[in-house]
Symmetry: C3
Subunit: 224 residues, 3 copies
């Protein structure tokens, strides 16, 4: 019922933009990790499609959209090729890439929540899956690159909160039967702007209180 | 047919206890890794629900229980909040947490095996999935925290064996048509007690024989 | 329709050979990482069955073959036992193991592509899943062992390209209605020989052009 929030072609174009910018972030990390051209392509694909793939497996939408829409599959390859040949230029516009990544975050948390609800999940579960759609690709990217996911690190600007806000707005709109192109658009923009502000003002989330036992910050190796 | 081993409300309460203690172990690792509050929540959710999620995807029970039962989703958040505010106190009762974790291990290996068999898997596959349900969340926790899974490390007390024993007992009971609340309970308690004994007496599993080529223990970087 | 490319028993035997050699590679890495006997068994299972499991989840073939065919499950355990007891001997025949691994790579990229197409995916998506089937287990192995996947590293001999070539040959054969036991066999052998040549002559893939910003090769910790 919500499938036509935007006209299909607008929706599809927005999806491809989100996939493209996420793929750029994956490809850039691959270059920094010194991966070869196939590593760049794999990390671009996983970052761009991983979140949606996870969502589709969980809601039972198989085969996932990532494998049925050729555009979803080829877009990350274009991003990977761009980074491969023009890496310093792409680095130089890192600010623009970050802004696009914020747009992808806003878009994916909204479409992820909507799609999960369409497949019969409850409102809370739908919002949780919307969050997973938005951040899942980045987590997979960091796991494959053998890094601590930047989503989890306290020394990174807020990334989860904008997506949580956007997904919750969609869930509330569904609850009060007010989901349409306008309210969806507002949710996307809200998440997008929150993420931009978080980067601009370096908003961070608090760590645990009373971390007395965490005196040795490097002691993580001795954990359970 | 085995769904009512215990009364539904008893079963559900036991599930929530298992989810809660697994979430505590995830949240504690997140604090030790210096993650922020969202990292703590994410690691609590993944540790608590990851094993069951994996099992449900494999047996085709979508959407997984983790996304259809609101209690499953909110319990890890409560555990995360507790650890966030009362971290040193929770650390201090690490012994109690370990005992609860052992209880979760026993419970999940039994319910995981039973559910897999209900969905039509063979006895061996069901026992394997019971093991995966019990240990999967902890492995995902360690992968996300960028650590070698403690399940795989030789310098940790036995963790897989109690779950293997519990899951195998359930599979044998099914084979001889003797699965009921009593035999299920015995399997849970056996796995639980074995894990307690393994921690008490530091039981370890052997490493490969003749590790002559493993002289340089840190040489793992050069592996294929 | 393509199910009987080879006679079922030949196909099954080839599958088991592929699973066995992939399991050996997993078990050997586990020994090098100093894991205990259960870690060796887990890494053997994941390496051998992970790629096919991923493919089956994506195409909706649940429960996956890994959990319905007892031979698929027990073969990695035999490989793990072999490595556990005869580790130095297996290391000594590393060349033979690598050749078998190349055979597994060729076989899995072909059967993976064919199975994905049978389940209704398009040609490009089928070839992509064939590649994922062939390399997925190795990536999971490296992630669990907390290493950078060797698939992504530039300092390893080509691994993805032979699988891409094999999977693409199958897709082309399907496109031109020419897939049969002979053409499938040619695709397997082509991927196999390409991988052997890549190891023999240390073929490597290029890294990104103009990596001026990658001057500090160890700076990867500071990545996004």
């Amino acid at each position: 019922m919500f499938q036509e929030l935007f006209t299909p072609s607008v929706q599809h174009s927005l999806d491809l933009v989100g996939i493209f910018v996420f793929a750029i972030s994956g490809a850039l990390l691959a270059v920094r990790k010194n991966f070869d051209v196939f590593g760049i392509a794999v990390l671009a694909e996983v970052t761009a499609l991983g979140g949606g793939l996870l969502r589709d497996l969980i809601i039972g939408a198989v085969p996932p959209a990532a494998f049925t829409d050729l555009g979803y599959f080829t877009t990350p390859l274009i991003a990977a090729a761009l980074v491969f040949f023009l890496h310093p230029e792409v680095e130089r516009i890192q600010g623009a890439v970050n802004a696009f990544d914020a747009a992808g975050l806003g878009l994916f948390c909204v479409t992820g929540t909507t799609k999960a609800y369409e497949y019969g999940l409850g409102l809370t579960a739908s919002a949780a899956l919307g969050l997973a759609t938005a951040v899942g690709g980045g987590v997979l990217r960091d796991v494959l690159a053998n890094e601590v996911p930047s989503l989890l690190r306290w020394d990174r600007d807020l990334y989860a909160v904008p997506a949580i806000v956007g997904a919750s707005m969609v869930a509330l709109c569904i609850r009060f039967d007010a989901l349409n192109a306008v309210t969806s658009g507002i949710a996307v923009v809200t998440a997008f702007v929150l993420r931009l502000l978080a980067m601009r003002f370096h908003w961070r989330a608090p760590r645990a209180w009373h971390r007395s036992s965490a005196k040795a910050e490097g002691e993580s190796e001795s954990s359970t």
